[in-house]
Symmetry: C2
Subunit: 165 residues, 2 copies
């Protein structure tokens, strides 16, 4: 039986498809850039970051970490040449340590299921984390040369983004 | 100097923030679910999947692979209890092999930069890949028990989604 969230997906998707007229868009992102950001529920990447359908790859995960596998595919297979990395205020990654997370997994799912060295990759300083990720990306020799890489913070309280680096 | 894509981000974000009134939303997703999908530029997750701001985590990467680190954080730290995994027609991951990708990286960035065993995780059969990822997720004992997990295909040509498993 469908869950409430599945029912919502089905009905909203039906509505979306009923007026959909973008089936002609090409696979490679038209504006040759990719955005990396957090999975946070309060971020609507298309609207808040101004990404029109077909224009950019969007990579999202806990914390907005640079996912090298996806970035290399985006660059080498699909031709993107610019990376915009966006972390955000109020990020969950600022609120816990690896030890906290391991304890919760043990409580919810059972002790010893995850290795004690499992790295959830939390961070303690938002702007520093943006700078660190951009610096790390700039060191990756597998990226296409002269890739433009910038780092930003999005404020979930105001909807405003600002460039950090 | 700002790139065209950065200028677009700044101007569109300014417009978005000027009418933004959702600064009160809480960190944990209100509808306690997460969506995993591809980074593909032709997917507007909020509109196509009917996700209102604040309702669900959105994880995106090349192919829409289940990213265990992000999923565990979503579940154990932020309370989600349902996973909707969506792959799509026309996916780039269906178009190359690891050997192809390694060759392109070598051409674009230099030979020998990536290990010859680097796995870009391409797949050959779309519906099978959905089934495989859902089956893999169901085997993960670190997830919260009785997590509802479903797998879908989204058609970039029509805007329509259908459930596979």
């Amino acid at each position: 039986m469908a869950t409430e969230n599945q029912k919502n997906f089905i009905s909203k998707n039906k509505e979306y498809a009923s007026t959909f007229d973008q089936g002609h868009l090409a696979l490679p992102p038209a504006k040759k850039y990719l955005v990396v950001t957090c999975m946070d529920a309060r971020i609507d990447t298309a609207r808040a970051f101004g990404i029109d359908l077909g224009d950019a790859h969007v990579i999202r995960n806990a914390g907005g970490n640079p996912d090298l596998r996806s970035i290399l595919i985006s660059q080498h297979l699909l031709g993107t040449r610019e990376i915009i990395l966006v972390k955000h205020t109020g990020c969950g990654m600022l609120t816990f340590t690896n030890a906290d997370a391991l304890k919760l997994v043990a409580q919810n799912a059972g002790a010893g299921i995850l290795s004690s060295t499992f790295d959830f990759q939390p961070f303690a300083d938002l702007e520093q984390a943006v700078k660190d990720d951009v610096a790390w990306l700039k060191e990756q020799s597998a990226l296409v040369e002269r890739t433009n890489i910038s780092g930003w913070v999005y404020e979930v309280e105001t909807g405003k983004a600002k460039q950090i680096v």
